[in-house]
């Protein structure tokens, strides 16, 4: 019975797919004979994927840590012209104006939820007595700190008491410096302060030490703050709060929503990391494409007789191309999987320190390898596999059957 043209087309399409599957299965089964050359694709792609996954994870971790610090119902007040808390100084008389501005949230007792903050940097000695690194010490208002930042919670010990030389340490800072355990002394100027608790949940604050602002200002004999953080009655109240402060000629301050402050400071460096990841990972991926082409060309050469035989007994050219592409793709995917797994084994959960650009020091990022970065690695593997397999596949399809089968 003659087939209708339409059915015939469907039939040939099905045929091509079935043929491709059959040839691919065959070539995959013969992979062990070409083990070492095939490993070139796996290792080449693995290297590129490892670099990409590691750096993207770092970039995402950084973004996440910083943007989880800011909240829409908090505002930061800095001195006009200062673009970072570290570079800001607010005189005490500005505080009265800030507290009196509209939109400031209050506790049931009527006390405004405002924290005067003072920032200093401490050098933390390592086990060998030399400076192992530096940590930001943030003085906060002790009585409002839990209402202002409810997301920060103690996981061990207790909180600091005003008037005493006591500090609490963020989990990330503690993870990085062994000498910041509870009960350990910390040298502030020439006095010994003691770590009395550990907290978590504060985003970038997890990389800091917190203490009482007034006690710290006394220790440093300072009369001015670095910045003031304010809890607003609602995110919408920000406009009135800002307008009141900006229009007051007696003080010159800059006011911003807290989330915006942290976003603005995080994005530069996170973007830069992504750029570096893409450039370096990209060049390595280009190298991997060439390596994959090399391997697939030699695979085609090694399979010359096999491919010619298949063609002679009626397998289509597209099935041969398809099988070469699929083999390259599988090997590249395997490579990206291996690269991702190695990064996961080596780096997942580890703690790295970095900065986010101007203003925020010593962000300590806990790396979580997974999800997006690994998917990006696999997507690149698909591109590398297809590009690497395409030309060798075409060569395989164009193999002259009769000369290939003639004994040499």
């Amino acid at each position: 019975m003659p087939m209708s043209p339409r059915l015939y087309r469907v039939d040939t399409a099905m045929n091509t797919i079935l043929q491709t599957i059959a040839v691919s299965m065959m070539s995959v089964r013969s992979l062990p004979q070409r083990l070492i050359p095939s490993l070139v694709i796996v290792i080449g792609m693995g290297g590129a994927a490892a670099v990409l996954v590691a750096m993207l994870s770092l970039s995402r971790g950084l973004s996440h840590t910083i943007s989880s610090t800011g909240s829409a119902d908090r505002a930061i007040v800095l001195r006009a012209g200062a673009d970072a808390e570290e570079a800001s100084i607010l005189p005490r008389d500005a505080l009265a104006k800030i507290v009196g501005a509209p939109g400031v949230a209050r506790m049931p007792s009527g006390q405004p939820i405002v924290s005067t903050e003072i920032l200093t940097t401490l050098n933390i000695p390592g086990a060998d007595g030399r400076v192992a690194g530096s940590v930001t010490l943030r003085g906060v208002s002790a009585d409002t700190s839990t209402s202002l930042r409810p997301e920060i919670h103690l996981v061990e010990g207790r909180t600091f008491r005003p008037g005493f030389h006591e500090l609490v340490v963020g989990g990330a800072a503690q993870g990085r410096f062994g000498s910041l355990g509870i009960g350990h002394p910390v040298k502030v100027l020439n006095a010994q302060w003691t770590v009395v608790g550990t907290f978590e949940g504060g985003g970038t604050h997890d990389a800091e030490l917190l203490g009482d602002a007034e006690t710290l200002m006394g220790a440093y004999r300072r009369t001015s703050f670095s910045a003031v953080t304010v809890k607003l009655t609602s995110p919408i109240a920000f406009r009135d709060f800002r307008r009141a402060l900006m229009s007051d000629p007696a003080i010159s301050v800059a006011v911003g929503p807290e989330w915006y402050y942290y976003e603005a400071h995080s994005q530069i460096f996170a973007k830069l990391l992504t750029l570096v990841a893409t450039v370096i990972g990209g060049i390595m991926a280009v190298g991997a494409v060439f390596a994959a082409m090399n391997t697939m060309y030699s695979a085609v050469v090694a399979r010359t007789i096999e491919i010619a035989t298949l063609r002679a007994i009626g397998f289509g050219a597209s099935a041969v191309i398809g099988s070469v592409l699929i083999e390259a793709l599988l090997l590249a995917l395997l490579g990206s999987f291996v690269g991702g797994a190695v990064v996961w084994l080596l780096l997942n959960g580890s703690v790295m320190s970095t900065v986010s650009g101007a203003g925020i020091n010593n962000v300590i990022v806990r790396l979580h390898v997974g999800g997006g970065p690994v998917m990006a690695g696999m997507a690149w593997a698909c591109v590398v596999g297809l590009l690497g397999g395409l030309l060798p596949g075409l060569r395989a399809a164009r193999l002259p059957v009769e000369t290939a089968l003639r004994p040499a």
């Binding site: 490993l39 570290e86 100084i89 440093y220 300072r222 390596a291 090399n294």
Partner: protein, 377 residues
């Protein structure tokens, strides 16, 4: 046929493979060159920093002010050659985004502290005696089309400045390439707050070896005052700035290791295929009387030729790429960084190591070829 001819013939035997191997080696060296060049640039920057210049700042973070009187007192510390007050304001010129750092200082003292900053003596003398004078970095003057005699108006967060360009200076520190140097007294007078304070004091010392004890002497002078100081050399300051980028060295080394591992595997495999296919030819050469050493040398030369050529090509691309990469770290002052001499040698060394590591085992294999067995087939 000469040895070189034999090596050339071996490379042309499978041109696709040779070219593809060379391209992937080149890609690897683009990465290696860029990373090692970055590292070399950072350490060159550190080496260029003067250990003779001390920076005195407040022990309280954030540029908390110090009294200007400290400059005079530091001047009297034994071993201090010269001390200059420093206050930094950011002026906006014409457009809000056109921000120019203005350093208010004692001009004469500053140029004594940095003798490598070039400025005509007459311009310096004139500028130091004119309150509103400004010395403009050459690069900045070119950017903004300023020349000596121009009057420039800058808006700052603390008031407006009207400066007269009195001279052009050439800094050797890329960080200062777009700065204006002005008189401390004028900047001080323009400020509504923090009068008679400085953000820091720069001091030069007679003897580099004594820099640590002089630093300590300065800090102990003010230890029990209202404004304790922190003194470190410029070099220490820069090291701490670079450490602030985080575990950069760790990241660079990890990537270099990953690239090298991949590269080694790749070249070794490509060369192994080439040698395997030519065992017959090598056996013929041996039968013709070529000594083992000659066969080994040929295989090694083949590996070296590919690695060195591709490596140098990759380095060339890296050298073009680096300026773009480092311009993203403006705060480090790495602006003029390029592929440094040291990194170039390092990369050449690496390419030789990769060539030898992949070539030596195969060269041995080639020379151990059993003529009778290989040829009988």
């Amino acid at each position: 046929m000469s040895y070189a001819g034999l090596v050339w013939a071996a490379l042309r035997r499978r041109p696709t493979r040779t070219v593809l191997t060379a391209l992937s080696v080149a890609a690897a060296f683009v990465v290696l060159g860029a990373l090692l060049g970055f590292n070399a640039g950072v350490s060159a920057l550190l080496d260029s920093q003067q250990a003779t210049v001390l920076r005195v700042v407040s022990r309280v973070a954030g540029g908390a002010p110090l009294p200007v009187a400290y400059t005079q007192r530091i001047q009297t510390v034994r071993g201090v050659a010269s001390a200059a007050s420093a206050v930094l304001v950011f002026g906006r010129y014409q457009r809000p985004r056109n921000v120019i750092p203005v350093l208010g200082t004692d001009m004469k003292a500053l140029f004594t502290i940095y003798p490598r900053f070039a400025v005509p003596a007459a311009q310096l003398a004139a500028a130091a005696s004119m309150p509103t004078a400004a010395l403009v970095a050459r690069e900045l003057a070119q950017q903004q089309h300023w020349k000596v005699g121009d009057r420039i108006a800058l808006r700052t967060a603390t008031g407006d400045l009207e400066l007269d360009v009195a001279g052009i200076y050439i800094p050797d520190d890329p960080e200062l390439a777009t700065w204006i140097i002005a008189n401390y007294d004028y900047i001080n007078a323009s400020r509504p707050r923090d009068k008679d304070t400085v953000m820091g004091i720069l001091a030069s010392v007679d003897d580099i070896a004594r820099a640590p004890e002089i630093s300590q002497a300065i800090d102990s002078l003010f230890e029990n005052s209202l404004y304790p100081t922190l003194t470190e050399t410029e070099r220490q300051y820069r090291v701490s700035q670079i450490n602030r980028i985080g575990d950069i060295g760790l990241v660079v080394n990890a990537i270099v290791a990953a690239v090298l591992f991949t590269l080694l595997f790749l070249t070794a495999n490509s060369l192994a295929q080439s040698v395997r296919e030519r065992m017959g030819e090598l056996a013929v050469l041996k039968a013709l009387g070529f000594p083992n050493a000659a066969l080994q040398a040929m295989v090694l030369t083949e590996a070296l030729a590919v690695c060195a050529t591709a490596g140098i090509a990759g380095l060339g691309i890296a050298a073009l790429l680096l300026p773009a990469l480092t311009s993203n770290f403006p705060t480090l002052g790495l602006r003029s960084l390029h592929l440094m001499h040291g990194a170039f040698l390092e990369c050449i060394g690496l390419s030789l190591i990769v060539a030898l590591a992949s070539g030596v085992p195969l060269a041995r294999k080639a020379s151990h070829a059993d003529v009778a067995k290989t040829l009988s087939g």
